[in-house]
Amino acid sequence: MAKGYNIFNLVRHAFRPNEPWPEAWAKPEPKSSYDAIIIGGGGHGLATAYYLAKNHGMKNIAVLEKSYIGSGNVGRNTTLIRSNYMIGGNTAFFEFSMKLWEGLSHELNFNAMVSHRGQMVLAVSPGQVDAFARRGNTMRLNGIDAELLDRNEVMKELPYLDYSKEARFPIYGAIHQPRAGTVRHDAVAWGYARAASQLGVDIIENCEVTNIIRDGDKVVGVETSRGKILSNKVAIAVAGHTSHLAAMAGMKLPIESHILQAFVTEPVKPLVHHVVSWGAELFYLSQSDKGGMVFGGHIDGFNTYTQRGNFPRIQNVMECATTLLPFMSRMRLLRHWGGIQDMTPDGSPFICKTPTQGLYLNGGWCYQGFKATPASGFTYAHTIANDQEHELNKCFSLDRFEKGKELDEFGIGNWTYKQ
């Protein structure tokens, strides 16, 4: 297993061609029992394992991944990070995540290519400028960076947008968060996996959980495709399959699984230096370090577990792209793919205990799982180790709908995507 990455072993390997680098994380056989089992080897599951080992001294942990590390949503998202949230608990949580991103590469000794290139959310009406001013003020009052730009300032920063008189949605301004940006998503998975493995966590790939074993109202372990594994702490972190896993423990959740598509064009020279989001429709675009335009839009709109997108949404996203950025009409699409995400009524996640003792839930991330990865792992680890929510994830409870404590960031009520 590769211990430290530094300039010296880089040079040593340069002079030893034909010799592969040691594996970044160990590939152990599953043991018969662990102090804690994390179901799901995605970004959130691996981050949780890392923080459990680092912050809470738990070393006897397994992360069970049904496929290979990086095969799920951690390798399918559009890599954006931001903390431009306005509602109660969200603001502090996502800003905490942003702060963890800032030191992540050093912490993991793995270059996650965190790029604070800034995010511009474009306003397309005077009313939207007012709404963005309110959002920006809320952010600044919470110590988050935000600035409101007028049309002329946006024209200087993003000269390639459609500013013509014929523009279907004229640009009135933008809210800019300079610390927002992108992170190389594969590196996040690999970095957390390697760091957790070095702290003694067993990362077990190709190990699908088929049942959650309970004794009364307590969890005692899981049945997997590689045998039965016992533990009195089992933590779910499986994104799109959250309902599927919860059903194994007899739970029904406020979640529907939906497909979100993402797209990338052929690589071109550097042009888009920010993350650009649009106020007229759910659309966002950034340019990867390799040069491709990475962009996406809304979910397809019906529940599905297939990771295949439908053409009508592709058409809609392309229309958004060419309306906002006319140059996109001359770009060629290289790939598109889909990921399954667990949509909640209010668009906010769950990081909480469940009615079954020892069973924990992390899910319901909707569109926003990737940017939350470090804070999600940090607070979920706290919840698992202490059997008690961290201050930052108290608001992400399962019973918030019963109590009327929804975190409705869109501000238009529950199930926004069904309206």
Binding site: K252, P254, I255, N303, Y305, P312
Partner: protein, 127 residues
């Protein structure tokens, strides 16, 4: 994905609007049990597999109907037509969202159905 509308035949998914899980029963009008309303509004089976759901043919006949679809594959499986006691039989939930059984148009619709058969293209569709 292509969806077989029981009235218009198979059309592209772009013509339809998804209406959610059709197996849930709306609590009776005036029910004061908040837990029942909570479960009705917020909690879903969300199965990975067979799912009965509402769709509306918004860019066609605008009728609501039930569809059996496997959420793991998007394969749509045949369901009996309305009146044959199958998934497309109208129930209170459908009435509430616009398929008025007392409406004269429903008579026309039933008549249309008697001459319209989906047989022959109702096998499993790989989408």
């Amino acid at each position: 994905m292509r969806i077989p509308c029981p009235h218009c035949g198979e059309r592209d998914v772009a013509e339809f609007r998804y209406g959610g899980d059709a197996t849930k029963a709306r609590p009776a009008h005036g029910t004061g049990d908040l837990q029942a309303w909570h479960d009705y509004h917020f909690v879903f089976d969300n199965p990975k597999g067979p799912h009965t759901e509402y769709w509306q043919h918004t860019l066609g006949c605008r009728q609501w109907f039930k569809l059996n679809r496997n959420t793991a594959t998007n394969v749509i499986v045949p369901s009996p037509l309305e009146g044959e006691g199958g998934a497309n039989a109208p129930d209170e939930g459908v009435v509430a969202i616009g398929l008025a059984s007392a409406n004269p148009s429903s008579v026309l619709r039933k008549k249309a159905q008697s001459t319209f058969s989906l047989k022959g293209r109702r096998g499993e569709k790989k989408l």
